[in-house]
């Protein structure tokens, strides 16, 4: 056990001990994204889907920040706004200290190669009429000073790196299995040597045995290419495996963020506790005696969120103030953030 821990500590800066020293790559303050709801012939705005509601966090250079939460909680939107694929409604996001939300299209284009995204569905995110070689080579055309031969060489290099045969460069996406298609998506994302990659549910559409292959690949690439990941997933066990720190989202809000072991061993927010306990453990002996926190009801609609704490309608520990005041996002112990009235400030 101890040797294992020190080994990983050598490879990656461990987030728990590094919140002061670690270099911040991405910094987010009160980031908000509302999607207008329009009705009628005049497309009048009648409301808004509050997809992301004032989230604040940092991503450290070289780490994997896991982002978990149920569907509709705003994970993808957070990732897309970070990469400026969607415009923020309010708040700030910086990359190496440069503000992204107000950046001109020209400046953004220069920065794009350094921030990439891997999508959930390798099926719909790859153009079926393009060969693998042109899919992976496309970003090189736009951004790198390579001639056709140079691009070809780089594509072959990339395919090898992600575990595909360079000889298959002229095939089309449908000729590959789901896992291989995801490798193509990964190759395209790393083509321009990015620093930061948002992995949005990269394994959700894959079979169990293939998920492990892709996660192993992402971990290998992170080490070899010094990548920083935002790893979005609803699979809490896989996030526990891959992440250094983990943030939990609910109805557009961050409700908790901590170093991975701290978050799973000592979850403070009632939602994190429930989410954690809802995940079935692949061990009949443990399952036979495990007690679950079963939440009542469904997640409210982000078009019509409850007042006060977003979780108050399902929270087993709800108090009066939770229905009135949205709890502050605060650091209760070093590196452990939570937004909950009920959590006592810890003295340490």
């Amino acid at each position: 056990m101890t040797t294992e821990v020190s080994e990983t500590a050598d490879q990656k800066p461990k987030a728990s001990s590094s919140s002061d020293q670690a270099e911040v790559l991405v910094s987010v303050k009160n980031l908000t994204k509302h999607f207008p709801i329009r009705k009628g012939v005049f497309r009048r705005e009648v409301g808004a889907v509050k997809a992301v509601e004032g989230v604040s966090f940092d991503i450290h250079k070289g780490e994997t920040l896991g982002l978990v939460g149920e569907s509709g909680s705003g994970k993808s939107t957070t990732g897309r706004v970070l990469l400026q694929l969607d415009h923020a409604t309010a708040g700030s996001a910086t990359f190496e200290g440069q503000e992204l939300t107000t950046m001109s299209e020209r400046e953004l284009r220069k920065l794009r190669p350094r921030m990439q995204m891997i999508f959930q569905d390798p099926h719909s995110s790859l153009n079926p009429r393009m060969t693998v070689s042109s899919i992976v080579g496309e970003p090189l055309k736009e951004h790198a000073d390579l001639d056709a031969a140079g691009r070809q060489k780089r594509v072959e290099e990339l395919l090898t790196l992600v575990g595909l045969q360079p000889a298959h460069a002229n095939r089309y996406p449908h000729e590959f299995s789901g896992g291989q298609r995801q490798r193509i998506g990964v190759a395209r994302a790393i083509a321009m040597n990015p620093d930061f990659v948002v992995c949005d549910e990269p394994i959700a559409a894959l079979d169990v045995s293939i998920q492990a292959q892709v996660v192993n690949l992402l971990e290998k690439l992170q080490e070899e290419l010094d990548l920083t990941y935002l790893f979005i997933s609803h699979d809490l066990s896989m996030v526990r495996h891959i992440a250094d720190r983990v943030a939990v989202m609910y109805l557009g809000h961050f409700v908790e963020l901590a170093a991975v072991d701290e978050l799973y061993d000592n979850p403070l927010h009632p939602y994190t506790q429930a989410l954690n306990s809802a995940v079935p453990v692949p061990d009949p002996v443990i399952e036979a005696t495990r007690k679950r926190i079963i939440l009542e009801g469904d997640i409210p609609s982000p078009a019509n969120p409850p007042s006060g704490c977003p979780f108050n309608t399902r929270c087993p520990q709800v108090e009066d103030r939770c229905r009135e005041v949205n709890p502050e996002w605060r650091e209760v112990t070093e590196g452990h953030w939570v937004a909950c009235h009920v959590v006592e400030p810890k003295t340490q």
Binding site: V208, P280, V285, R290, L295
Partner: protein, 336 residues
């Protein structure tokens, strides 16, 4: 040969040598290749395996629910209530479906009728399969919705499917499946489309219902976590065949087929943090010809000559434990 432990009176449903093909423009897909298993009365049987391994087609074939054509059940027997379901007339089969054997599917939207109220869909089934009539039907419908934990059951009877959340719709599906006190419920990935806290609600309801009702359940899933807490026994499928079958504790503690080991190894474990996951290399291929070798051999670390020339038979490797593999994984030598 199948173990003797399951034959006879104990089994409520017995499938033998079931084979189903699909004749597509691209050729024949051998979706199910000689599947045999028995379901004991009241037991919870999980069927696991990757997508395309033949789980759904096996269960749909039992009640001739596959589209024919392109589908074709080419062999097999499905004994239920002293009769072979595959020999029944369509009208008789319709009575079994939704009556003595209930189905729950992954996506309730496709099996619920969008223009009928929830109440109407339950009472329709009750009228078709039971002797209840008049107020008794409505009372029973309300009772069923309460049983699956739908708040405000009476009011909910008047709701349409689209007015309910995914989790509530799945509860309604369970209520409909339970409506006629079936002997068997087949649930095909019923929680796969749901969020984890909603999945936990559904699992909890299934556990409660198991205690209260004497219904045997076949639960299809690809999630070995869900299986661990629910099942009595587990069947593992690969390439349209059963490759392993065991009591749930034995399967996790002592998996005998390399594929089962691989699946369990692919799941991240706490004590392996910071290590590579032990992934199974390659990916499953669809079965284009009647297998003449082990379908898993191309991905298997233990494959040897025989695996490429002879289909392994499913046989007893321990107490109530069967595996189809030419390699003795504990003895570290080929099986004879």
């Amino acid at each position: 040969m199948r173990g003797a432990y399951l034959s006879g009176k104990d089994a409520v449903l017995e499938v033998s040598d079931l084979s189903t093909e699909f004749h597509t423009p691209d050729g024949v897909v051998h979706a199910v290749n000689g599947v045999s298993f028995a379901l004991r009365s009241g037991e919870f049987l999980a069927v696991v395996g990757e997508s395309g391994s033949g789980k759904s087609v096996t269960m749909m074939s039992m009640l001739k629910l596959i589209p024919m054509p392109p589908g074709k059940i080419v062999a097999g027997k499905v004994m239920f209530d002293h009769q072979d379901l595959l020999e029944l007339e369509t009208s008789q089969l319709r009575k079994v479906r939704g009556g003595e054997i209930g189905f729950i599917f992954q996506d309730p939207m496709t099996s619920l009728n969008p223009v009928l109220t929830i109440g109407r869909q339950i009472t329709e089934s009750l009228e078709l399969h039971t002797d209840l009539s008049g107020d008794a039907v409505n009372d029973r419908a309300e009772e069923l919705l309460t049983m699956v934990g739908l708040p405000d059951a009476r009011a909910r009877l008047k709701s349409y499917p689209h007015e309910l959340s995914g989790g509530m719709r799945q509860r309604v599906m369970i209520a409909i499946a339970l409506a006629c006190s079936p002997k068997v419920i087949v649930a095909d990935e019923p929680t796969t489309a749901l969020d984890v806290t909603i999945q936990a609600q559904i699992i909890e309801i299934m556990k409660e219902l198991r205690e209260r009702l004497d219904t045997a359940v076949i639960w299809i899933t690809h999630d070995l976590g869900v299986v661990a807490g629910l099942a009595d026994r587990v069947i593992v499928m690969y390439g349209g065949k059963i490759v392993e079958e065991a009591r749930v504790g034995d399967l996790y503690a002592n998996p005998q087929h390399p594929y089962t080991r691989g699946l369990l190894g692919s799941i991240p474990r706490l004590d392996q943090k910071g290590q590579e996951l032990s992934a199974i290399e390659g990916s499953p291929a669809s079965i284009r010809a009647i297998p003449t070798s082990c379908s898993f051999a191309p991905r298997c670390d233990y494959a040897h000559d025989r695996c490429h020339t002879e289909v392994p038979v499913l046989r007893e490797v321990g107490a109530e434990h069967m595996a189809a593999c030419w390699w003795d994984i504990d003895g570290e030598r080929p099986r004879l």
